[in-house]
Amino acid sequence: MLFLLVLFSAFLLQFIMPWWIVVVVGFLTGLLSARRPWQNFLIVFAAIGALWLGASLYIAFIESTVLLPRMAGLLQLPHAWMLFVVTALTGALPASLAALGGSWLITRDAETADDI
């Protein structure tokens, strides 16, 4: 449920806000979600990663992909498909780290500490 909430709120906000809105979404998730910090981290990572991966796959499916090898050349990636990974990670990593930080910020006492 939280996964879908994060995914859809980020999806909608992306249309009007710059890319870093996913970091804000991640942070707020960490602040507001009662789950354990590392659970929040994983959920946000998966949701934003899936969102960015899904959106890039969708565009690659409906539009021409001639840009992908060119961008891969520019970013010195050996294979064009790695752009999907880079894209998903660029969104997911800062967003999920913000979720973890947000969760840690509001954790009240030692009893709710994480299992690592």
Binding site: Q14, W52, S56, L67, G91, P94, L97, W104, D114, D115
Partner: protein
């Protein structure tokens, strides 16, 4: 494992992690060095994913309150826009809009580069480049150009409409729609102003007419003894067939040039590095009249050779409105059709080596450099402040001194990036002269209906001197050396000029009626390939640095010997890979080559650094193997037809050897000279060799031939292996077309193309035919053409580089020339409708 943390520790970790996350987010939002802002760039909603487009051009309806009536733009299957408007303003508004739609980033970047404003987006690394551009007077010249075209109501409307259309397109874009290069460079596009059009013209002037060898030539004259100098640098290159046939009679009284002070000896230039001068760009154009064609109608051909890049320097377009129906290629950033045709006539252009930029030695009164000597008087310098904004740094202020000739181009403290000109010198450049309006010429020749109207248009073709080829449906052909050229005494401008002596000033110009022209010559054809415009009989001195004989002689030989010519014949001719200079000199070189290896053995005479030194096995075996390969290569050269075809196994070796041989011949003479110079032309060298003037060479010619041959064999075999079945000129020379901003990955590597700069198909490594066009002027104009790129400048569009293969293979496309918005509608693939909106 379970970790128990105290609340304070946890808070501390949270703040630390959030700070690190904020830092990461920030780092992904900015460009670090040339690493793009990855967060913005990869975001599927705003980043490069938004620049991925499917093939074709989307249909679109747009409104603008600036339009006077409806404009219909029909795109054909190659994405060429055909604009149908009913007044000039709407026509050029639409041209600005459709060009911005396909080439927004290119125009923005080109103009910044021309103006010396790259540091604004690149950063401190570009300051030296910008400074050199400012010192060349690029913005100064753009202002002069803009003042000229804004003073004429026709060109003022043309440029303003173009700018309005460009800006109308820009205004409807969101940042996510910006071309991908803006996202990579983390920059924003700027609106287009008339000054930008002036910058585009300056950009073309810089490309086409900023070349000078005055200081190189001055050094060569000063450092070599008289006899040797004249042999190495003759006033005219050998074997050249001039543009105007040599038997042409000049029936006018020429204006007498002024006489300079004979005592002037310019200083040698020592503060520039040793280097040879880029052989530069060239072009071909020719036209035949009906007596030589199968159809009985004239046919014109043009292929301007410019540096080929993505996006292409050209944008194909048709302009149709009241009084104009013209098709051809335009320059992104300028209104009108530059090279093309209309319903009555066609025209083509080639560049000229006539002197268009003079270098003046300046005598300053004192260290303050506020005054300089001219005509016996101390005259005040004008100063122009140039402020260069730098991304991530403080602005750089440069004060540029201007004499009445023009700017003092090199600063005195340090050198600006490209070492173009010596310190303490000013330049006078045709691009800086006031009251030139080349756009009025474009405006008029796009609309010309006959030879007289074309002539009238050519009177304005003054500040971008070109050889203009012409053919019309009345059956006329002509060629002219167009431009405004100062009346010069012999040699003026080809060496450093005396800034003190008014005889060097540009006061009087060759009258239009006296320019080298040829109308309907008896031979039935006209042609130009950047060679000298005239023989020495022409009464005016124009310059001395023209292209060698190769392409011009080949074109004239083919045209003179051909009848019943068709457009298909010209398609083949444009792809002709034969090298006349190789044909001239190779038999001589082979005759000097010691085939059995006894006179100059590879072991005793090879440069030890050049070969692999016998690493692969025993020296004697390698020696005999080398001799074997050497003999085999010599045999292949002996059987070669001098044609630089892609599949030739031996053509690339020839280029290796030619270059090695010239180094072997000239290095001993020139390397010890610590001064800026240009080496003798290859064809001059060939003439000296063939005529037996071997005493001018500092080395034994036979030894140079053999030594360079063996060195070349070593290098070539090291690089491409010893199996001739695998040698392939087109593949091995690795031609590539790069991106305008040299973004890695955005060019096109490994283009397999025939051709060489000395062939009609002058496909070099950087410069190549940037547009090939053939027009037959019958009752219905038939035109074919192609260029190495595509209409779309978007690297995410399949059309970005689509035509490269056809261009390399010599496959031409029909150019659809429509008479009206409803003509041949089946070929329309997409429509852009521009409607006037209520104001």
């Amino acid at each position: 494992m379970t970790i128990r943390l105290s609340q304070r520790q946890r808070l501390y970790n949270a703040v630390l992690l959030l700070a690190a996350t904020a830092l990461l987010t920030w780092a992904l939002s900015i460009r670090v060095g040339m690493i793009p802002p990855l967060g913005h760039l990869t975001n599927p909603w705003q980043g490069f994913w938004q620049n991925m487009e499917r093939d074709g051009v989307p249909e679109l309806l747009m409104e603008s309150d600036k339009l006077r009536s409806t404009v219909t733009v029909r795109y054909d299957e190659r994405g060429v826009p055909h604009i149908f408007a009913d007044n000039d303003y709407d026509l050029y508004f639409a041209q600005g809009l459709v060009t911005a739609r396909d080439r927004l980033w290119q125009i923005d970047f080109q103009n910044r580069a021309a103006a010396g404003r790259l540091a604004e987006i690149i950063g401190p690394d570009a300051v030296n480049y910008d400074r050199a551009q400012r010192r060349l007077g690029m913005i100064y010249g753009a202002e002069i150009n803009a003042a000229s075209f804004m003073a004429d109501p026709r060109t003022a409307e043309m440029v303003q409409a173009y700018a309005d259309g460009y800006n109308a397109w820009l205004e409807r874009l969101n940042p996510k729609d910006y071309p991908v290069e803006f996202k990579i460079l983390d920059a924003d596009p700027e609106p287009f102003s008339p000054l930008d059009c002036g910058l585009l013209l300056m950009n073309m002037s810089q490309t086409l007419s900023s070349g000078t060898r005055a200081h190189a030539q001055t050094n060569a004259r000063a450092l070599l003894t008289g006899d040797i100098y004249h042999l190495l640098y003759p006033d005219e290159l050998p074997w050249v067939d001039p543009i105007i046939p040599p038997d042409h009679k000049w029936n006018f009284d020429p204006i007498e040039p002024p006489s300079p002070n004979p005592g002037f000896v310019p200083d040698k230039v020592r503060d520039l590095p040793l280097r040879d001068i880029d052989p530069g760009i060239g072009s071909n154009s020719w036209a035949v009249d009906g007596s030589k064609t199968e159809s009985g109608y004239p046919i014109l051909s043009n292929d301007p050779h410019l540096s080929v890049t993505f996006p292409s320097i050209w944008y194909e377009i048709q302009l149709n409105s009241e009084g104009i129906n013209s098709y051809g290629v335009s320059l992104p950033g300028a209104p009108g059709v530059i090279v093309g045709f209309n319903e009555f006539l066609a025209w083509g252009a080639t560049n000229t080596g006539s002197n268009t930029l003079d270098v003046f030695e300046i005598e300053f009164r004192d260290e303050s450099r506020t005054e300089y000597l001219h005509d016996g008087e101390w005259k005040p310098m004008r100063m122009r402040m140039e402020e260069i904004h730098v991304r991530g740094d403080d602005p750089v202020i440069d004060t540029v001194l201007y004499t009445h000739h023009g700017p003092v181009t090199q600063p005195f403290d340090e050198k600006a990036a490209p070492d173009r000109f010596p310190q303490g010198h000013a330049i006078q450049w045709i691009a800086h002269q006031p009251d030139h309006n080349v756009l009025l010429s474009v405006y008029k020749y796009n609309r010309a209906r006959n030879q007289d109207e074309f002539e009238t248009a050519m009177r304005h073709f003054t500040n971008l001197p070109q050889n203009i080829t012409y053919a019309d449906r009345d059956g006329n052909i002509s060629i002219g050396h167009m431009g405004r050229f100062p009346v010069r005494f012999f040699g003026q401008g080809s060496y450093i000029s005396d800034g003190r002596d008014p005889a060097y000033d540009w006061n009087r110009f060759v009258p239009f009626e006296h320019l080298p022209r040829s109308f309907n010559p008896d031979r039935g054809f006209v042609s130009s390939a950047n060679q000298a415009p005239t023989s020495r009989e022409y009464p005016y001195y124009l310059g001395r640095h023209y292209a060698g004989f190769s392409r011009g002689a080949r074109i004239n030989e083919i045209l003179a010997g051909s009848n019943n010519i068709t457009t298909g014949f010209f398609e083949e001719m444009l792809m002709d890979n034969h090298s006349p200079p190789a044909e001239k000199i190779l038999p001589f070189l082979l005759s000097m080559l010691d085939r059995d290896g006894s006179r100059v053995s590879p072991e005793s005479d090879r440069n030890p650094e050049a070969g692999d030194g016998g690493r692969n096995g025993n020296k004697d075996n390698k020696g005999s193997k080398d001799r074997h390969i050497g003999n085999m290569i010599a045999d292949m050269l002996g059987q070669w037809d001098y044609s630089f075809d892609a599949d030739s196994p031996i053509a690339l070796f020839y280029t290796y050897w030619e270059s090695q041989f010239h180094n072997a011949l000239w290095d001993p003479l020139f390397n010890p000279i610590d001064a800026f110079f240009s080496r003798p032309d290859y064809t001059t060298t060939s003439r000296l060799l063939l005529d037996g003037d071997h005493h001018v060479f500092p080395v034994d010619v036979r030894q140079a031939v053999n030594r360079s041959f063996h060195e070349s064999v070593d290098r070539f075999v090291n690089r491409y292996g010893g199996n001739p079945d695998r040698w392939h000129y087109g593949r091995d020379r690795a031609m590539r077309i790069g991106h305008l901003a040299m973004l890695p990955g955005f060019g096109h590597d490994h283009i397999v193309a025939s051709g060489t700069p000395d062939a009609i198909n002058a496909t070099g490594t950087r410069h190549a035919p940037s547009w090939r066009m053939i027009v037959e002027l019958g009752p219905e104009i038939q035109a074919r053409g192609h260029f190495p790129g595509g209409q779309s400048g978007n690297p995410g569009h399949p059309g970005y580089d689509r035509a490269v293969q056809d261009w390399a293979a010599g496959t031409f496309h029909d150019l659809h020339f429509w008479r009206s918005a409803s003509d041949d509608t089946a070929r329309t693939t997409s429509i852009l409708l521009l409607e006037p909106a209520p104001r």
